[in-house]
């Protein structure tokens, strides 16, 4: 007995409400896993686009983390830059930018993402809009020319300005698009592997899907979301093809633009999407529909960013009306 009393005296027991055990998941663990899931695509981008892409990603991450640090210092809050969420926001934002963007634009975007979109609303967990996308949309209106100037790596040394596949589609039409690649199968191959033009992190569909599958396996994202969002885009683009109903090229649209990275990594940002599974499904389908609407009808060639932001706007309404079924409420 003496043993116990002594221990008790030296070290007061902890008292808290039940439950007393919790699962090993934590926010930093989730955030870092998502970062890890992006690594293959990041490495590919560094190889394919070279130094400019590396700089952009670095600037994106560093400025995001620094901004978060300074704001938390000013607001006298706990410093949480280690939880990986700022890193993730910075990285995802950079991955949605054209590789040759001037560094100050990247920095401005990172700053906006963290300072305006995230911390003005209270920080991690409170933001309503996807910070990375808010930053992208803001950059898009701030420097539209730079944001739509794409450099392609024909050979390692030779950089020329060309258009992204979606841009070609919007401006010149489908036939021209296929011609650029030679034939459809080499087009699909380029789209899948990522040897095509586009934002830093969006090109390699395979690696992104790989990362996404890792997250699904870990249970950090729901498989329904990417599948439904990409599926919706596929079905709708197939139906509303350029030459009448059911003449579209769904495969192209599913692989093009930021859809893959958006569907796996951005439409799944739990902070800014509905909380229930059903709500998440509505979100994914809605985002898919809006993406197609903007791609086919809108002024911009790509709509993933805006479709996710628009669905962010309606998320509180979805959460209000799509609620879990209470046990015992009658069936």
């Amino acid at each position: 007995m003496a043993v116990n009393e002594e221990t008790l005296k030296m070290n007061l027991l902890t008292v808290s409400t039940s439950p007393h055990i919790t699962s090993p998941e934590s926010i930093p663990k989730i955030m870092w896993s998502v970062n890890a899931a992006l690594v293959p695509a990041v490495i590919f981008a560094a190889w394919y686009f070279g130094m400019p892409a590396i700089t952009t990603m670095l600037v994106g991450v560093v400025v995001a983390v620094a901004t978060e640090y300074v704001i938390q210092l000013i607001r006298k809050k706990d410093i949480t830059i280690n939880d990986g969420s700022a890193v993730l926001t910075g990285l995802l934002m950079a991955m949605c930018l054209p590789p040759n963007l001037p560094w100050y634009m990247t920095a401005f975007g990172s700053f906006l993402a963290i300072a305006v979109a995230k911390h003005s609303m209270g920080g991690l967990g409170y933001n309503i809009f996807n910070p990375a996308h808010i930053a992208r949309a803001a950059l898009m209106v701030s420097w539209p020319v730079a944001m739509t100037t794409w450099t392609a790596m024909t050979t390692k040394a030779d950089v020329v300005t060309t258009a992204t596949p979606l841009n070609i589609l919007k401006q010149q039409g489908y036939t021209q698009l296929v011609e650029t690649f030679g034939d459809t199968s080499s087009m699909y191959q380029a789209m899948l592997l990522g040897t095509r033009n586009g934002s830093i992190g969006e090109t390699s569909a395979v690696l992104l899907i790989l990362g996404g599958i890792f997250l699904i396996y870990k249970g950090y994202i729901k498989w329904e979301m990417p599948v439904l969002m990409i599926g919706t885009v596929g079905i709708l683009t197939w139906i509303f093809g350029p030459a009448g109903l059911f003449t579209g090229d769904p495969l192209f649209h599913m692989l093009a633009g930021g859809l893959i990275i958006g569907a796996f990594f951005m439409a799944t940002d739990m902070v800014t999407i509905p909380i229930t599974r059903k709500g998440k499904i509505i979100f994914a389908v809605g985002a898919g529909i809006l993406t197609v609407l903007i791609r086919l009808k809108g002024g911009y060639p790509e709509g993933v960013c805006y479709s996710i932001l628009l669905m962010n706007c309606v998320t509180p309404l979805i959460d209000r009306f799509v609620v879990p079924k209470k046990f015992g409420a009658g069936r």
Partner: protein
């Protein structure tokens, strides 16, 4: 296999004690018997300081129906009646008995009785006399449950053998070792209730218990069913849903769907009281956790302290961070070891730092895990946020606060480590307080 919505799969940690037969703890030198070991009207002492009492002697009672008699668990002298620490209420008026070392039975017990010869009313009377309350943790007086109001037609009895809480193995060992008493207990209860259908629900991580009870109940109306292992399988609403496909309505009780659920320990106590005349003075409990040297299943007298239990289990094994009365999901953390074991104490856990998680609490990131884990179909995220902002009325009126059974599944899965259950309890108390105030206002 069909299952209820939600739930979680914590590491069951039953390996510490699952293979350990129930050991009878040595006679305690002193017992502290709280007068509140049940839900309902409080009982008052009918002995005074200095009185000699015998084991099984009635020492506190109440005239109210919803109440539970209290008996001396050892023989000896009453040395104090005062406030003592209590595992649920903080402190409680308790009768302290110093053992005379005799452990002598009170007059007239034990007896031998043939339960088949008694009618339902007599059986029910015996159960009431014996001070039996729910031993699954809720400590609701059993005779009350067995006497439903006439408009509630009971047609099914369920024995809750799921023991879904991690660490605990008391019910499991009891099912293996006290199979006969369980059988008679169940049959007695069914006779009292006048029902023909009975179920025993056991989680499928205890296959030998399923087998043992299946052979025991062979040839009776009682079906023994193996249920998927998932917390909180043992919560009565889930159990009833799994076994009978009935949903206890929101705010309702099992009797609203014609069911009565009892815990294994309760049933054993019923059997003991009816067949041997022994009131509820002892119970089986699990002493476990990584901070205890020899985890065990113990049969202990009501009123023994947690310190007694620990000393029977070889003392501490390294640094102790938390003591829990009950299981890790729903039990109560204690600040001292001088806490008496009461009728509802199903286990005592001595946990070290590594068992518990006291990570920093983040803001909710709306991941929705809690929503998916909640067996009651609530939105725990919202409940916690509203609690945090003191919007408890909104939590009650728009987010079904009162339906939460505090099972803790939501907290278990939350990556932000939010203290959801505490916010919920906070909101519940604040709402109750507000209701009281309003009543007072109306009364004025």
């Amino acid at each position: 296999m069909k299952s209820f919505h939600g739930g979680v799969h914590p590491n069951d940690s039953k390996k510490y004690t699952a293979a350990k037969p129930i050991e009878t703890a040595p006679l305690p030198k002193k017992v502290i018997i709280p007068l509140r070991q049940h839900i309902g009207a409080p009982v008052s002492a009918i002995v005074k300081k200095g009185d000699d009492v015998k084991k099984g002697q009635l020492i506190a009672q109440s005239n109210a129906f919803v109440s539970g008699n209290v008996h001396a668990s050892i023989s000896g002298k009453v040395i104090d009646i005062a406030d003592y620490p209590h595992s649920v209420f903080g402190t409680c008026l308790s009768i302290v008995i110093e053992s005379d070392g005799q452990d002598a039975w009170a007059e007239g017990i034990p007896v031998q009785r043939q339960w088949e010869k008694l009618d339902a009313k007599e059986l029910s009377g015996i159960i009431r006399e014996a001070g039996i309350v729910g031993m699954g943790g809720a400590t609701f007086p059993t005779h009350v449950k067995l006497a439903p109001p006439p408009d509630k037609k009971i047609d099914t009895f369920i024995l809750n053998g799921s023991e879904c809480e991690p660490f605990l193995t008391a019910d499991y060992r009891s099912m293996l070792e006290y199979t006969d008493r369980i059988k008679s207990g169940v049959l007695i209860t069914m006779k009292v209730l006048g029902v023909n259908t009975g179920y025993v629900g056991i989680e499928d991580n205890k296959p030998d218990a399923v087998k043992a009870l299946q052979s025991a109940f062979g040839g009776t109306q009682v079906k023994v069913v193996a249920l998927p292992t998932k917390y909180p399988q043992g919560a009565e609403k889930m159990l009833i849903f799994m076994l009978t496909n009935r949903e206890v309505p929101s705010g309702g009780l099992p009797m609203d769907v014609g069911v009565v659920v009892q815990n294994v320990g309760t049933i054993i106590a019923i059997s003991d009281a009816v067949t041997r005349g022994i009131p509820l003075i002892q119970r089986v409990l699990t002493v476990s956790g990584s901070a205890v040297k020899e985890p065990k299943n113990l049969l202990m007298r009501i009123g023994s302290t947690f310190a007694d239990a620990l000393s029977h289990c070889g003392g501490l094994n390294g640094e102790l961070a938390k003591i829990i009365s009950g299981g890790p999901m729903m039990g109560f953390a204690q600040s001292t070891m001088d806490i008496p074991i009461i009728k509802g104490t199903s286990g005592i856990l001595f946990l070290s730092r590594k068992d518990i998680n006291d990570d920093k609490e983040y803001a909710c990131i709306h991941c929705g895990r809690c929503v998916e884990a909640c067996p009651m179909g609530l939105n725990p995220s919202m409940l916690s946020i509203l609690g945090e902002r003191q919007l408890y009325v909104e939590a009650k009126e728009e987010y079904n606060l009162m339906d939460c059974m505090e099972c803790g599944s939501c907290v278990y899965v939350c990556p932000a480590k939010r203290k959801i259950v505490q916010y919920i309890r906070y909101s519940k108390t604040q709402n109750a307080l507000q209701a009281q105030k309003e009543q007072a206002k109306v009364a004025v």
